[in-house]
C-alpha cells in the first residue's frame, strides 16, 4: 500500500468532486462540508453502469444517512463510504483511503509494482 500525493486543497471544489490520475488510475475526489466539518472521499471515477469516467462530475448529497454521489449519466447513486450503488446494490465502485496534510491531499492505493520514477512518498 502506498500513499500518493494527488492534489492540493486549492484544486478541490467545495461540496463537489474533481478527478485525479493516480498510477494510471482515474479517481474521483470529493470534498464535502458537513456541519462545518470538511470530509474527503476518494472513489473510482469510472461509472460501471454508464461505462464512462464521469463520477467526479456528479452531484453529491445524502440519501437517508448515506453520503452519496449521483452519476451524471443515468443518476444512480453511489455511497461515498463504501462505493455501493444504492439502486443496484450488487454493483460497487472502489473506495480509497484519503487524507489531508496541510495543503496536500494524499490517496492510498495498492500499487503492486510502484515505478521507480514515480515520486511517491510513504506517509507514516
Amino acid at each position: 500500500m502506498t500513499w500518493f500525493n494527488v492534489a492540493t486543497t486549492s484544486d478541490l471544489v467545495d461540496n463537489s468532486g474533481v478527478c485525479v490520475l493516480v498510477n494510471g488510475q482515474q479517481i474521483a475526489l470529493f470534498s464535502l462540508t458537513i456541519t462545518g466539518q470538511n470530509q474527503l472521499f476518494a472513489i473510482d471515477n469510472f461509472d460501471p453502469i454508464g461505462q464512462a469516467n464521469v463520477l467526479a462530475r456528479g452531484i453529491t448529497g445524502s440519501i437517508g444517512d448515506r453520503l452519496v454521489v449521483a452519476s451524471p449519466l443515468y443518476k444512480q447513486h453511489f455511497d461515498l463510504h463504501n462505493g455501493q450503488c444504492i439502486e443496484m446494490p450488487e454493483i460497487s465502485v472502489g473506495v480509497y483511503p484519503v487524507q489531508r496534510q496541510e495543503q496536500t491531499i494524499w490517496i492510498q492505493l495498492k500499487s503492486s509494482q510502484p515505478r521507480a520514477e514515480t515520486k511517491m512518498e510513504a506517509m507514516v
Binding site: 500525493n5 485525479v20 494510471g24 464512462a52 462530475r57
Partner: protein
Amino acid sequence: MTASQHILVVGNGMVGHHFVEQLRATAPTATITVLCGEPQLAYDRVYLSSVFTGKDRAELALTSEQHYREQGIKYHLNCWVSRIEPQSKTVFTANGENYHYDKLVLATGSYPFVPPIPGHQQEHCLVYRKLDDLTAIAHSAQDSQTGVIIGGGLLGLEAANALRQLGLTTHVVEFAPQLMAVQLDVAGGQLLTQKITALGLGVHTGKTTQAIVAGDECRYRLEFSDGSFLETDLVVFSAGIRPYDALAKDAGLAIGAKGGIIINDYCQTSQQDIYAIGECALWQNQLFGLVAPGYQMARVAASHLTGQALRFQGADMSTRLKLLGVEVGSIGDAHARTPGAQCLTYQDPIRQIYKKLVLNDSGDKLLGAVLVGDTAEYDTLLQYFLNALPLPAAPESLILPQLNANTPTLSADLLPDHAMLCSCHNVTKGDIVASIEQGHVELASIKRCTKASTGCGGCAALLKSVVDTELTLRGVAVNNHLCEHFAYSRQALLHLVQVEQLTTFEQLLQRYGQGQGCDVCKPTVASILASVWNEYILDNKHVALQDTNDTFLANMQKDGSYSVVPRIAGGEISSAKLLVLAQVADDFQLYCKITGGQRIDLFGARLEQLPLIWRRLVDAGFETGHAYGKSLRTVKSCVGSTWCRYGVQDSVGQAISIESRYKGLRSPHKIKMAVSGCTRECAEAQSKDIGVIATENGWNLYVCGNGGMRPRHADLFATDLDTPTLIRYIDRILMFYIRTADRLQRTSVWLEKLEGGLDYLRQVIIDDSLGLAAELEKQMAGLVNSYACEWQRTLDDPEALKRFRHFVNSPEGDSNILFVQERGQIRPATLEEKQQQQRIPVTMIESEEITHDMV
C-alpha cells in the same frame, strides 16, 4: 406429481414458456422436457412488429438457452412433433426421435389461416406469425413497392403497419364491410377506416378476393368478386388463425366442432394425462387468441400438476391497442348483443373520436364499450365492466370530453380486492394491498415485489392511483415534496427564496431542509435562485448545485465527452459564421449535426477542449445556446415575409428579437418557442411552449404546446396582437409559469394542472385578475437586463476555467474517450471497438507520462 415424473411440453411459444416457468417455480425438481418447433426458444410474439421499427430480434427473447440449462429444463429446438401415442405415452417427432412422458402438455398455439384462393401458393404470398415470417416478409419487400394485407382484423392491421415500416405502399383488403369487425361496431370501424386512410393506406372493405393472377404494373393482381381489382407485389394473409390441433385429433383427443382441443377447468383434455393450454385449447366452446388468458391456463395447468386446485374460469377479451398510431379500445359486449342492451355514443368528427358505452337494460351497469381515437378512459371503463361496479348517475359523463372538473372519477377505493389491475402479471388490487401491508410504501418496490406494471405498462396509471389511495388510507402522506431533503413543493421554495431574500442553497437547507441535499433538490434550487436573482451560475456558491451540463456549459454524451451548441437565434446564420463553425469543427475534429431546433451541434469535445473551442466561438461573435440548461432553448422561425411569397410578417426578425429577449432565462423545465410568418405554419409554432403566428393584423399567440414524449397542441391565447402587447403577454406568462410550476413540469402539463385552465390564465395575464401583471413584467425586465453570456463570463474567469480539466493533477485527457470514423466523421467507439483499440499499448505510454506530472 412426483419428482421422477416426466413432464413433456410440446411447443415453446409464449404460453408454453410461461407454463415451464410456473411449473419450475412450484416444482423445483420436476423433470421437464420441452420440444420446440421453432429454431429458437420462446420470444415475445406480441411485439413481433417492433422489429420493423428497429428493435433487435434478440430483444424479443423471453428466455435463453443458458437460463433453461441453469433451471435444469431439457429442450430440443427445431423439434416438430408428428404423432402422439396416448396408450404408450410416447410422442414421435418428425426427425425420428421419440419421447416418453408421464404428463403431456400441448401448447402448440395456432397457425395463420390462408384462404384457398387460386394463386395463394405463389412466391411473395406470405403469412405473419413467427420470426421466420418476418425474415421472409422483409426479404420479399426488398424487391416490392406495393403490399397488400388480406384481412382487416387486429393482426392484419398490425401486419399493415409492418409493411408500412418497410416503406411499401400498403393496402388492407377486408371481406367484411368494416375493419376489426370482432372488436368494433360499424361506426367505430368506419372511423378507424377514415383514420387509416388518412395515413396513406388503402382500405378496401367488402372485397372478396377470388384469384391472385399476374399483374400489369405490379407482380400480382388481386381479382375481387365484384369485378374490381388491385395490383400488388407482395401479399400477406392475415385472415384469421386456426388452432394447431391436428396432433391431438389424430391421437383421438376430443376436438371442438370448429377446431380446438377441448379442455376442462383444469386444462385437461379428454385424456387426463394430457393438458392443452394457450391458443390451441378450447374451453366452453371458446378459443382465446390473446396472451393473458393463455398465461392463466399455464398457471392453472402448472397448479393442477402440483396438486393445487386453481381453475380456469374464462377470460376477458377486452383489448386496447395503438395501431398505426391510432388508439382503439374494445371492452366486453362491443356489439350490444346482450338482450335489452342500450347504447350511449359520443362522436366528434373534428377531432375524429368515437366512443360508445353499452349499458344493461336498467342503465346502471357497463356491458361493453368501443373507443376509437382516444382511449384515455379505457382503464376506468374496464374496471366498471370487470367488477360490475354501479355506474355514476350520468354515465355519459364517463366519455364526454372534460369541459369542466365535474367528470366523475373512479375512486380506487371503490374497487373490490379481486379487481384485476395488471392483466399481464395477474396482479389484483388485493395483491397490491397485501404488499403494502408487508411494508412496501413506494411504487417502485411495490412494482418489484408484485411485478405489477412491469409487462405492457398499460396499467401504470391505475396502479399509481390504487397505491396512492391505499397509502393515504393508511395515513402515509402522498405529497408533492421536492425530495427527502425539503418537505416543500418547488413553488413553495420559490416563495421562500423570494420572501426571505435567500441567495444560497445552504441558507435554504439550513432553514427549511434536512440532510445534505441531492441531485434533485440542488439543481432545482439552483434554477430557482437563477430565476429569482440571475447570478452567474458558476459562482462559487452555486457551482456544486448544478447538473454536470450546467457546470460545464455543455451537454454530456454517453461516453463522458460533450457537445457544443452555440446560439443561432431564429435559425439565421451568415456564411461567415458557418465558416467559423466549420473551421472549429475541423480543427477539433468534432462531429457535426443539424439539430431539430434549427441549429448546429458539434459533438465529441473533451472536457479540457471546451474552453479552447468556446474561446474561438465567442471571439467570432457566438454566444452560448443553453442547450444544457432548463431554460430557453430555441425560437424557431420560418423564412417569413422577407422572402416567402405568402409571408405576412417578418417572422425571422420577430424570432430573433424574442430569442434575444429570453435567452438565458432559467425555468422549471426547458422552454421552446417558434414564430411562423403566416398561417401555413412552417415553423411548427403550435407545438411549442410559446408559439407566434403572423396574421394580416399582427400576431396570434399560442401557449403551452409540446412535442416530445406526449405531444400537445398549443392553445390559442390571444389574436392580432401588436408586438409590444405580444411581448408583454409572453413576459407575464413565462414569469407566472416560473413562479408556479413544479420541478421539471413543461408548460403543457402546467396548464393542464392549473385550476381553471386557459380561461384562468387569460384572466391573470390579460385581465390582471391577481394584480400581478406589473410585478411579473418588472421581474422579467430585471432578468432580461442582467443577462450575460455564461461562456463569455467563464472564459474571463481563471477560477472557473480551472474546472475544465479532466484531471486536476495532469494535463492528460480521458483515455476511455475513443472515436472511430463513420460516414466521414467521428462517432464514439463501441465497447468492443474500445477493447480492440486499447490492446494497442496506448495506456502504457500514458501512464509513463503521468508519473512525471505527479505531485
